[in-house]
């Protein structure tokens, strides 16, 4: 076993996903299959290999520090499930 049901529960919490008992079992089994498959990477010696994070040799892409038009508050709130005034409204965070 690469990953236990308890770990699946913990990872779901980290990912802010509510999962059902049925999903827990299914995910545990499927994630195990996938992680076992991924284990084949350990056949390879990679000591000293620089990890690749970008396909093209582009580093920092800077632009001039100039104010340009943005979409503004009204447009930013247009898709909000619950907006009030200039804010996104959410359920309470603390009692």
């Amino acid at each position: 076993m690469k990953i236990s049901t308890r770990e699946v529960e913990y990872v779901a919490h980290l990912a802010r996903l509510e999962i059902t008992e049925g999903e827990k079992e299914k995910f545990t089994s499927q994630l195990n299959d996938i992680l076992l498959y991924i284990d084949k990477l350990n056949e390879l010696e990679t000591q000293g290999v620089e990890p690749m994070s970008h396909a093209i040799g582009v580093t920092n892409a800077f632009r001039e520090d100039k104010v340009i038009d943005s979409i503004g508050t009204e447009q930013s709130l247009i898709n909000a499930p619950d907006a009030r005034g200039e804010f996104f409204r959410v359920p309470k965070v603390i009692d």
Partner: protein, 485 residues
């Protein structure tokens, strides 16, 4: 031939000599949609009113002699591209009501080139899938056999072109999502070099792999579309400020003396014999065109799927953290506090495959596992890219099958994620290395399913891909069939 069956370049000629109007073309596309869409389900949303208005405007421009590269050409957009004022869902319940306040850069570019947008094409949820079965809006069916999948994730973009429900379309490709459905639906699909086409307004899946590209009915149309799509965008910091050639100049040129690399790792056990036969035939055609085939090796090929299924989910778990029910999209009702709102909105908003990938990615990036998974995968990714760097010292272009099998049955792989992932075995390496790849139709199986051949070139060598694909298309003389719908 009906207008909706024509290519961009054929229609351009007809528009220029006045034998067709933009309105007639758009109407022919929508009458085809009326006839077949219920069975194929290429689209999540049709934009008929906008399209007819845009076509009318195009006809006014044409009268004034103002004809741009795509004036009056009906184009479908994968529903992963933001369209201002038009719902953009990414195939997901969590974005079912999202109306973007801005356009993706490619949408702006296509509009400026005169395109008429037909609708938003169906796709796997958040582009995660190889069959377009994970769409919250239901599956798309392969027009060549309605019992089969069209490939994915850009399945709707592929079928819209294959079923003549548009003239060309736009998709996105993170691990094969343009080339694999193009092959399975018998159309041309190109994934450009990472950085060639701006992704501003493309809903992010795996940011180090995602790229936008066209689906077309032939290679010349692919060149026409690339002329519109390619180029630097200051709004997209990974887009590359490099010169863009006129891709149309590569159409019709010969490939005499070109070295074509045949990687032995792509001709392995498990490939459908009909695919192998079609690819062997394609190799013969390339040799008749004057190409010289050379054996090459891409030794880390067998690790590509494993690397991809760490890197793509890891990036996705981060990119999809933004769907929390706060600023846009679906929010669960009847929740008492914030954490519960996040968890419930995401539980109800995401489908099983998206959850699975978020889970893999979160696990791979979590404390204690980062080195074992993400770092290891990024190191092997470097080795995969090096394989290609070495290969392109020995050849101009690489030739491979696009897929290991023709289109599989709907439901065949939905319960076995790993088998589904393995259907991308020949397309994933391209995204990991950031190089461009094209799939071109190369024949049919005995049961009449399309097969595709894939050509790969070095970074920013899309011109070479157009050139060899065009030479192949001209000399292979693949019988032009249309799906019997």
């Amino acid at each position: 031939m009906e207008f909706n069956q024509s290519t961009i370049h054929e229609l351009q000629e007809k528009i220029k000599n006045g034998s067709v109007t933009a309105s007639q073309i758009t109407e022919s596309v929508f009458s085809r949609i009326d006839a077949v869409e219920e069975r194929v389900h290429s689209y999540i949303r049709l934009m008929k009113e906008n399209a007819l208005a845009a076509a009318k405007k195009a006809d006014e421009d044409i009268k004034k002699g103002d004809i741009k590269p795509l004036t009056g050409i009906p184009i479908a957009l994968k529903d992963i591209l933001c369209t201002k004022g038009i719902t953009t869902t990414c195939g997901s319940h969590i974005l079912h009501n999202f109306v973007p306040p801005y356009n993706a850069t490619v949408v702006e570019k296509l509009t400026a080139a005169g395109a008429v947008f037909v609708g938003k094409a169906n796709m796997d949820e958040f582009a995660m899938g190889s069959s377009t079965e994970t769409s919250w809006f239901g599956p798309t069916r392969n027009p060549w056999d309605l019992e089969r999948i069209p490939g994915g994730s850009s399945g709707g973009s592929a079928t819209a072109v294959a079923a003549d429900e548009c003239i060309a379309s736009i998709g996105s490709d993170t691990g094969g999502s343009i080339r694999q459905p193009a092959a399975l639906c018998g159309v041309v699909g190109l994934k450009p070099t990472y950085g060639r086409v701006s992704r501003f307004g493309l809903i992010a899946f795996a940011s180090s792999l995602d790229q936008i590209g066209p689906f077309t009915k032939d290679v010349e149309d692919c060149a026409i579309m690339m002329n519109v799509l390619a180029g630097y965008d200051p709004k997209e910091s990974t887009s590359v400020n490099a010169e863009v050639p006129d891709y149309r100049q590569f159409v019709g040129r010969d490939i005499k003396g070109w070295k074509i690399g045949i990687p032995k790792e792509y001709f392995i056990e498990g490939i459908d014999p009909e695919i192998t036969a079609a690819i062997q035939q394609a190799i013969k055609v390339i040799e008749l065109c004057g190409g010289v085939c050379v054996d090459i090796s891409l030794p880390h090929t067998q690790y590509c799927v494993a690397v991809y299924y760490i890197i793509a989910p890891a990036e996705a778990s981060s990119n999809l953290a933004r769907y929390d029910g706060v600023r846009y999209g679906f929010r669960a009702a009847d929740v008492r506090e914030l954490l519960e709102m996040y968890k419930e909105s995401r539980r109800q908003g995401f489908g099983a495959e998206v959850k699975r990938r978020i889970m893999i990615g979160t696990y791979a990036l979590s404390a204690g596992y980062y080195d074992a998974y993400y770092k290891k995968a990024s190191q092997v990714r470097a080795l995969i890219k090096k394989d290609f760097d070495e290969a392109f010292k020995k050849c101009d272009v690489i030739l491979t099958p696009t897929t290991p099998t023709p289109a599989f049955k709907i439901g065949e792989k939905t319960d076995d994620p790993l088998q589904m992932y393995l259907s991308d075995v020949f397309t994933i390496s391209t995204n990991l290395a950031g190089i461009p790849g094209i799939s071109v139709p190369c024949g049919y199986s005995t049961s009449g399913l399309p097969i595709g051949v894939q050509f790969l070139a070095s970074h920013f060598e899309e011109g070479k891909l157009i050139q060899i694909a065009s030479a192949y298309e001209k000399n292979a003389k693949i019988e032009k069939r249309r799906p019997a719908l």
